[in-house]
Amino acid sequence: MVEVLLRVENLYKHFGGVRAVDGVSFSLSWGERLFIVGPNGAGKTTLVNLISGYLKPDRGRILFKGEDVTGFGLAERVRRGIARSFQLVTVFDNLTVAENIAVSVASRLGRNRVAYRTLSSYRDVVEEVERVLEIFELEDVAGKYPTELSQGDRKILDVALTFSLKPSLIILDEPTSGVATRDKRSVMERLVKAFDVAGVSSIVVEHDMDIVFKYAKRVMAMHEGRVLADGDPASVKGDEEVKRILLGGVYA
């Protein structure tokens, strides 16, 4: 029981006649990384919205660290350690990369109200900022403004802000969307490496199959609100239904 971080039991969410999530169950261990794949409208984003608290399920339970969080709002889930980032990058454009992260770190340490000391005089804040910069390989751009960064670095900064809150589970919705094709791999590689170093669990919704099969240890394929297959990349790739619906013969 202790090893299970997140358990999703029989989750249902229908929008009118659309069965966005239709009886999904799975569990996630501490430190585990799960990729969710599926065609448009498969219910991937709805599922992560249910887990992160942006939507309430019609039926089913969500257990996080053994606690039933189904009825909890967004803020309560963030406080318990569920954090997510969105498809669009949202960072603070008039603060440098280091300052962006420092704001997040100061928030986690509960120092937002301190007005009599400079932020950069806090040794623990600066050390934590340096650690996050190093983990995400952002040291070289620490003094730059987000508008001066590549789209890939902006995306990584966005995730780094969420990461700085030290959540137990990070949910990423299409982290490589909008990133130039040649940068997609390096972005995903840096994210995956950072999560492994910190031992943080993650759920990643991703469209790009090449990337998924390169970086995944566990893949969950969805279609029309249901789980088609869940397991290691090879077995998911080998699944007949997955081949027919998702891969369209490309990988056959």
Partner: protein, 336 residues
């Protein structure tokens, strides 16, 4: 690592120190070469405290207030009323009471007006200012109405200055104001570089994201609003002994506009911007007023010119000239 926290020259402690020294040294020089203009330096320093307070809200939190005259009025009337009804003489006590009164007003009004952003906040604050202006005007048995309240000489640091010459009194008052301003400037430097200051900048850039990072944005905006009110109230209180008359005019919306003007003139994205803007505006106003009754027109043209030529204010010009010279020297040293 330290470089990763940006420190533009216009935001540095060194720039503040330089400004304080200039404001101290310029006074005797002006007294000597242009005696009539020396008093405007004192006015300018007082307005700079108000503009600095306004800018923690505008430049750092992204909230534009069109009603900061409300706090100028609170500060000035605190001095007027405590002299008139309590017979107080010590200015230090009056300043503290004025700051407390401004904070109380901010804490009453803030939780309501801060729920609104953008133009709604601006208009809401305009209304608050005008309500207080109406109060000073109509409660004439307390406030003296349009006649206002006359202010005699006040005691500075416990010194009775009734017997000294008027010019000596003005000189003493200038350095008193400058000392208060120096404390206010340096305190503001700490505030904008503190975790609070950075969190406010985060709210300005993207409030939704700030909330997602667990920042209680409404609470922090209330803190910023209160700091802003205390600074502006302090300026109002310092103004009273210099104008020697506290009247509703000090709380009129035109004064709110003036504070906005000063801040934008100097540059809202720089810590020293509002200070530079306040000093320059005060002189421009006094000079323009002396030449023509159409001085509103002159100042209007000026602000339009600044908005076109340097939308980020005069400090931006200074900053970009400095950056250009850095660039030129960099290129020169590379080619050599």
């Amino acid at each position: 690592m330290v470089e990763a926290f940006r420190r533009e020259a216009g935001n540095s402690l060194a720039a503040l120190a330089a400004i304080i020294i200039v404001l101290g040294a310029a006074y005797p020089i002006l007294r000597f070469i242009a005696p009539g203009y020396a008093i405007y330096l004192t006015y300018g320093v007082i307005w700079s405290i108000a503009a600095l307070g306004f800018n923690i809200l505008y430049g750092y939190t992204g909230l534009l207030s069109f009603g900061h005259a409300a706090f100028i009025g609170i500060g000035a009337y605190t001095v007027g009323l405590t002299i008139k009804y309590l017979g107080l003489k010590e200015l230090e006590v009056m300043l503290l009471v004025a700051m407390a009164a401004s904070a109380i007003l901010a804490l009453i009004v803030g939780p309501v007006v801060l729920r609104y952003g953008g133009i709604f906040f601006a208009i809401f604050m305009l209304a608050v200012g005008q309500i207080l202006w109406g109060f000073y005007l109509k409660f004439y048995h307390v406030t003296g109405g349009t006649d206002g309240i006359k202010i005699g000489r006040v005691e500075l640091l416990g010194f009775e200055l009734g017997g000294v010459g008027y010019l000596t009194y003005l000189t003493a008052y200038h350095y008193y104001v400058l000392a208060v301003a120096a404390v206010a400037y340096i305190t503001m430097w700490y505030i904008v570089n503190s975790p609070l200051g950075y969190s406010l900048k985060a709210i300005r850039d993207n409030e939704v994201r700030a909330i997602a990072l667990g920042i209680n944005t409404l609470q922090l905006k209330l803190v910023a609003f209160t700091i802003s009110a205390v600074y502006t109230g302090l300026a109002g209180a310092l103004l009273a002994p210099l104008t020697r008359l506290v009247s509703p005019e000090l709380a009129y919306w035109f004064v709110s506009g003036k504070i906005v003007f000063m801040t934008i003139l100097g540059g809202a994205s720089y810590l020293v911007g509002p200070i530079v803007g306040a000093i320059i505006y005060t002189y421009l106003e006094s000079i323009a007023m002396g030449y023509t009754i159409y001085w509103y027109l002159l100042l209007g043209i000026l602000i339009i010119a600044v908005m076109i030529l340097s939308p980020k204010g005069l400090m931006y010009l200074v900053d970009s000239v400095a950056a250009r010279s850095r660039l030129r020297w960099g290129a020169w040293s590379r080619s050599s």
